[in-house]
Subunit: 541 residues, 2 copies
């Protein structure tokens, strides 16, 4: 919102209502909030519809109202609807990602952590290389000549950033938990990778590229990944500790909820202050808060946080799509790009084709390699699933737009080809969100849900986990027959490393973490809470 | 927050972190959010303390950290901490007032509506006249000569604006419901009156004052009051109707909560757009939403809205006090006022004395007049209660500061005496909030709560309401003995007009409003909700 005001504050001071603030700001806020209400109502009415969702509704409503504003003001109002990177990165993105971490199915996420890291890190690098190379090879032929090598690399980084927000809306965590955790988890890690790549491209010295540069990049990425994660975990644990220690026995819902909100946001800001990936930080702080802090607060605080975070995230998402839709019709950019419709379409379709190819180039190979290592048939990723992973990650969103602005609009000498890059980015984002976003739901239904054979899912390997836990407990109780049992559990540990890591973590958690930071079963009162019980019963089934 | 950014955006573009936004913004946000967390924790630790509360903690923490920032930056950083009227009026105030309307005890509020209106309208006008006159008479003698007649009148309007935010914190709705409803209700109505007065002073033609001017002002006030209220009621009813009609049977907590939030905020913005009192609008939209909309949503939505609105309001309040505290040490203002400590103290104490006198001049007379009309001993306002009403409304807050900035800082030629007025306003606000705020709680304890005799309260006249309702119901059932009953109920209506109005409203509500807009008992599922049940039992007792 401050974007609107910053722009508006440059208007003459005479345009003032009697109520101490700018009339234009108030009008813009009114329009935005009325449109948000309309999005929610229309989105609800379209609930049964397979093709539409809130993102697409918001995008189209934004486009429509942008057009109306343009008509009413006769092409003058584009300044009012400037896309602001600050607004996006400071206020809209953090609640979305925090909520995603807060509501994510932790077990599913950590079970697939190796796949998520492979997709998120190596996949993004592969995609970056292919897009950069493709742009370098194709753009000269279709008449875009003014870009430097640095710009080509930046385009690669910009279009490697997937849109985790839209993924959240088209994939359903309950219906397709495996795909959701893979695609969404990849999106979060992908963010860190994209930022590292983008910053690296900005600072890289193109004249002195050697093997050392790649090593340096890897080092930077590892530093970024681990410190960001650690900061998020520390923030989450701190909030759990404070609430457990201070509020013990005399809870106040408002203070608890406020403290959780503020500490999550503070962790994001601190990460940005330290040039880390705030998104990773706030994601992990959300995970830790839902694991510890959430169990230390009162029943009403639990319900409130669960729904309030989801609501704020929902409003932010809708706001972003509305914003992108309205911004797309910014007439100045289209004018200053000065490109013919042909060139625009050529550039946009080249970029989109490269996005498709770049994503295919890592989803299918990495999945196949993983399948080679899995013996059991049920744990393999089928081709249909690979196809959906590829498809659902093609959407580009606000991150891409924000990065594109940062690269092509912030420089003082914005050339016509820079504007062309921005308008092409907008076309790619709109096309991928509207077309791919609306087809994804029916596609998943057609490919997966109507299919009767059980897929790779959490149901297939839970029994062995239960088996394992049973063994370990037995082991502790009756030590006389322990040696054969220990052998068996050791064998299980060798064959199912992921599951045993999870088991060991549970043991560590129960013995050391929960007594200090609280968590399920470690606070005096444990009235049944909707999600807690559901998760519990799921884990014990 | 956009205030920080607007200021920061004027800094050279080189000061940029790698993460696409200004380092200074991020630092400011970090400091603010860390301080907010500290306020909540310290406020909780001081919970048992009678003298301190969150407002005072925040104010002192803000002062302290403002001092630290000033020391660290060697007196350079004052620009970072500019008080922004936009931030205050657009983002911080609406949630506070909306929440107050949402959580207010409606019965208590409407029972005392005549007193609230008397205090809020006539009281504010009396206070405005006394302060303007006093300033006019005293200021010339203590060396402040450059103010115009318009400025004197503006000062009267500025210092007649009480601080409803601080009142919410020092008075307890459960312990002293009568006082709370009077003082807080007055604060809300007072806001509308102050804005009318302030705007009238801005636009008044001092050369042509006649009896017509006063009449015009009255007309403006009545228009403002009724249209603002109507807009709030319409917004509330609309939200109730939409949720009842659209979401019937298939509720979604996130969408319901989002819709309530957005529609409340939209009503505030629309009121500001139409130059009405947004505060009155959002207050009444809160009342209507808690009466209708709140009963149409799911149980989780009820808990979520109740606590989420309270939390957001709590964060905003703390933020305001922190902000005022930090802003108080803005070194530029103190320098440019150029006044000696003596003049500063003289101006501030004159203003504060006038505030005290101006408030006394209407609280005691109006209360006495009201007492003359009340026959029964239990319904009279005792002197001790009058004293607390006077005392609790003396605090001036962020509204006063915002109006003072608007009057004395926005003009292009800020003279040293304009700066003096601003610094004096800050002194008055700090002094009244810290000293009066901290003494109020112990004072109420000493004067009222330890006293055993029952005071004027809702308990004293509820039996007669119950009696009346019983009569009306009897009346409807058995029409043969109706005439004598009707006479008796008519007599009751004459002696207790307030109660019968409430009864008639209940009847109208049950027959016409609730079937359309929902509400308690008019939605298919009515699981017990904490406040709803408490209110119900209270009303039937």
């Amino acid at each position: 919102m401050e974007a609107l005001e910053t722009t508006v504050s440059q208007l003459p001071a005479q345009v003032k209502g009697s109520s101490f603030f700018n009339l234009t700001t108030v009008i813009a806020l009114c329009v935005f909030f009325a449109l948000l209400c309309a999005c929610i109502i229309i989105g609800h009415l379209l609930h049964g519809n397979r093709w539409a969702n809130e993102s697409i509704t918001a995008l189209l409503l934004g486009l429509g109202s942008g057009g109306v504003v343009l008509l009413v003001s006769k092409g003058e109002s584009s300044k009012l609807l400037n896309f602001s990177e600050n607004l996006f990165f400071l206020y809209l993105l953090p609640p979305i990602i925090f909520n995603a971490g807060f509501q994510v199915k932790k077990k599913q996420f950590f079970k697939n952590i190796s796949m998520i890291l492979l997709f998120g890190v190596f996949g993004t690098v592969i995609s970056f290389c292919i897009i950069s190379l493709g742009v370098f090879l194709v753009f000269n032929r279709i008449g875009v000549t003014s870009l430097t090598v640095q710009d080509y690399l930046a385009v690669g980084a910009i279009f490697s950033a997937t849109d985790s927000v839209c993924t959240l809306q088209v994939l359903n965590q309950d219906e397709t938990p495996f795909l959701y955790s893979i695609v969404f988890g990849e999106g979060v890690v992908n963010d860190a990778t994209s930022i590292v790549l983008y910053n690296a491209v900005q600072s890289i010295d193109l004249k002195n590229i050697s093997g050392l540069t790649a090593l340096k990049l890897l080092g930077t990425f590892l530093y970024l990944f681990f410190t960001s994660t650690a900061l998020g975990i520390v923030a989450g644990l701190l909030s759990a500790f404070i609430i457990k220690t201070l509020y013990f026995g005399r809870h106040s819902t408002d203070r608890e909820v406020a403290l959780m909100m503020l500490m999550a946001y503070l962790s994001y800001m601190l990460a940005e202050l330290m040039d880390l990936s705030g998104i990773l930080t706030v994601f992990f702080s959300g995970i830790v808060m839902s694991h510890y802090t959430w169990h230390n607060v009162t029943e009403s605080s639990r319900i409130t946080t669960k729904h309030a975070f989801a609501t704020i995230s929902f409003i932010s998402e809708t706001f972003i799509f509305l914003y992108v839709g309205m911004d797309a019709l910014d007439i100045d950019k289209w004018k200053s790009s000065g490109a013919s419709a042909g060139t625009s379409i050529a550039v946009s379709s080249t970029l989109f084709a490269l996005v498709l190819v770049g994503r295919a180039a890592f989803v299918f190979p990495i999945s196949s390699i993983r399948n080679c290592f899995k013996k059991r048939d049920g744990t393999k990723i089928e081709f249909r699933q690979q196809f959906i992973i590829w498809w659902a990650g093609v959407m580009r969103g606000a991150v891409t737009i924000a990065l594109s602005y940062s690269e092509f609009a912030s420089s003082s000498d914005t050339s016509s080809q820079d504007s062309l890059m921005i308008t092409s980015t907008i076309i790619v984002v709109l096309f991928s969100t509207v077309v791919f976003g609306s087809i994804t739901k029916p596609l998943i239904e057609a490919l997966l849900l109507r299919h009767s054979r059980p897929m790779i899912s959490d149901a297939s390997d839970l029994p062995s986990l239960e088996d394992l836990r049973f063994l370990f407990i037995e082991n502790g109780d009756q030590s006389e027959q322990g040696s054969s049992q220990r052998k068996r559990s050791l064998r299980l540990l060798m064959t199912n490393p992921g599951i045993s890591v999870h088991y060991l973590w549970r043991k560590f958690d129960d013995r050391f973490m929960r007594p200090v930071f609280g968590g399920r079963g470690f606070v005096p009162f444990v009235p049944g809470s909707p999600t807690g019980e559901a998760e519990e019963s799921q884990e014990n089934s």
